[in-house]
Symmetry: none
Subunit: 413 residues, 2 copies
């Protein structure tokens, strides 16, 4: 089944609203084995919408349109649908009854402007909207099923799940199955990954591979298509095993689990507690750790010691050490980690100190110089890094590197 | 100038990635007076991209395409551009020299696969990419300017600002002037803002007003269009003054300055130092403070005291107080703020403690209960909030509320 999406709204073309509906619908359709071939956005313009509907209907078997079903003058999708399909616009009695009921249940008076939302092309079938005033509807045009949903994300999603997906499932070609698998890699470039995975699809018909950079991570996305879910499962299992074989040391998470969630899961599984001491990341690592609900079970404290005085007072970093080695040094990173561990009484303590820039670098320690240290009961290790990029990039890659240190250490426990 | 956008990538049509690039580019083009007429998304498919380029070029004077310029096999945008414009694919010497330089500056070996990113249609002009390996480029086809940018948002935005917008400004109709002005509001709903600004455009021909929610902030965007920049400037000055008159107490930043940057500017201007003590925000406020380069001049330290023991050990919060009042209380928030100020020796210290959820709430202190406290030489004040939404939303609105506390306090100094 060839599918297309049409997003309608001036706010999308003015850049005032990010179109999340398209991604949500595409993802759900993909989940039931229907791949979207193209997605188009037009403004609140009757001619433009009608033309888009007609041309998309000519090349696809399913078109889902969102937006332009509200009660105000700039909502013209129903009129455009009537024009594109050569139908009259009529007052839809069932839609009107539903809308009156919608207001009655809420004990509210229906505004006359809302009746406009029941003017639909003749002979359409309703797509019920349990949570809003806009009536969804569907019609056949040029052998293409055109489905119209409101642009309000919450209303749209519920109508998609309750009515549209069952409808699509009933119409699609049953025999084809599509599944995906995702692996998240760190510490290796997209170019290198592509090179190491050369030939992965050879002798694996139905397998597709795509790469997506989410700096500093790279996602490898495997897509399997075939007859029957078992065969597709085997295809993806084989391909994922091959990726692990070729790039295993760089895989930090699989199947939608982020590195943050993988680290959180390991902390829970291993029953180990954590303290952090951050200089150049300024709280970013603590923020990412505590983004995960339930992190209070293992995260005891974080010290954001931006000033040297704070390193001395909070973490007992010796002043002489700071004077002799500088705040950005392996020795200070280790003193910070040990100090944080002592202060928190935690199993592990991780510390970072570095120069995120754009100022503060010199020839010996340029911008991007970062030391990471990890202390545990047995002692403390540290390593120097030279990262590049903007302040934001250096802070982000430092945080991900720190999370990967924790992940690797937790795996050994 | 009629403009269109083309987004390229299987991940967009599979719903794995939300297309934020389209909104960013549309918004920036609108800011220089160019309205996008349509936006199209296609997958990583050479034929589909070439066909889309050709048909968009026939109906527009400007097409900006993003995505598909990476080093791997699924990146086929340059090949499609060559096909659509009837050109050969050639190794672009300048692009190659730039790329070699890119790797040399970072002290890294260039992977052979990256050379593929310099295979571009013949006779194109480069759009330099200072932060990544993908070469942007532009070419004329059917009297339409086609511009190709990578899909990585950070790289794309920088190229858009440094090269594309000046290029567009030089080509568009010179006589009409379009300027925008932006005011950022906090603590007031979009509906309330709309009601209070009723009639703003009356008697102000050429003025447009749009609203954009960037939770928990709302941006009011004024757009002035007219003949001559002085007249447009006056129009916008008058409208902005009216917005300040009607909603002044809620304006936290103007003209692209975020609330984070406004706070940073005030700290520098007032020469005041800061310490933070965070519980439920877990480092998020420190992260936002240190996102700004130069924050080490005023930010001394942050204590992320997630566990009760950390509050006691780091901030000298009395154990009896924690037992009597609970960690989420006005008394503990004030003890945290005073403790952080004492520890850092700072002028100001801000503390937050609360329940971000989804677990941990009860009838008396439901999820979303947050206490903020601010200590200075004269004493300490605190306030209780009841925020709603997801864990992420509660943490974000808490951080913005805290930044707004700092902003208001600094303005009184």
């Amino acid at each position: 089944m060839k599918a297309a999406l049409l997003s309608i709204g001036d706010e999308l073309l003015l850049g005032e609203t990010v179109d999340t509906n398209a991604a949500v619908i595409a993802g759900r359709l993909y989940g039931v084995g229907v791949a979207v071939r193209r997605q188009l956005t037009v403004g609140d313009d009757e001619e433009a919408i009608a033309e888009a509907l007609d041309s998309l209907a000519a090349e696809h078997q399913l078109v889902i349109a969102t937006g332009g079903l509200g009660p105000t003058d700039d909502d013209v999708t129903a009129r455009a649908a009537a024009q594109a399909s050569g139908r009259r616009l009529v007052l839809h009695e069932e839609a009107l009854a539903r809308l009156q009921d919608f207001f009655a249940r809420r004990g509210r008076e229906m505004h006359p402007a809302n009746e406009r939302q029941c003017l639909l092309p003749a002979r359409v079938t309703l797509v019920p909207n349990p949570t809003g005033t806009a009536s969804g509807f569907q019609l056949l045009h040029r052998d293409c099923l055109l489905i119209f949903l409101p642009g309000v994300p919450g209303e749209m999603v519920r109508m998609l799940e309750e009515t549209v997906l069952p409808l699509v499932l009933a119409r699609r070609d049953e025999s084809r199955v599509v599944r995906t698998r995702q692996l998240t890699l760190f510490g290796v470039s997209e170019a290198e990954i592509g090179a190491r995975l050369t030939g992965l699809t050879v002798a694996r018909p139905g397998l597709g591979v795509a790469y997506c950079v989410d700096y500093p991570l790279v996602q490898v996305r495997l897509r399997g298509e075939g007859d029957g879910s078992e065969a597709v499962q085997r295809l993806l299992d084989g391909a994922a095993a091959e990726v692990r074989e070729r790039l295993g040391e760089h895989i930090v998470a699989e199947d939608g689990e982020s590195i943050d969630l993988a680290v959180a899961r390991l902390f829970r599984e291993k029953r180990v507690s954590l303290a952090l001491a951050e200089s150049c990341t300024g709280g970013l690592i603590a923020k990412r750790i505590t983004d995960v609900a339930g992190s209070s079970a293992y995260f005891l404290l974080g010290a954001v010691t931006y000033a040297n005085g704070a390193k001395v007072r909070l973490l007992d970093v010796p002043e002489e050490l700071l004077a002799a080695k500088g705040a950005v040094s392996a020795e200070v990173a280790m003193a910070m980690a040990k100090g944080a561990r002592r202060l928190a009484g935690s199993d592990l303590a991780l510390a970072v100190t570095g120069i995120a820039g754009p100022e503060g670098g010199d020839a010996v320690k340029p911008v991007g110089t970062v030391f990471i240290a990890l202390a545990d009961r047995a002692g403390c290790t540290s390593k120097e890094y030279r990262f590049s990029g903007s302040r934001d990039q250096i802070r982000t890659v430092t945080a991900v590197t720190a999370l990967d240190w924790l992940r690797r250490r937790l795996l050994t426990l």
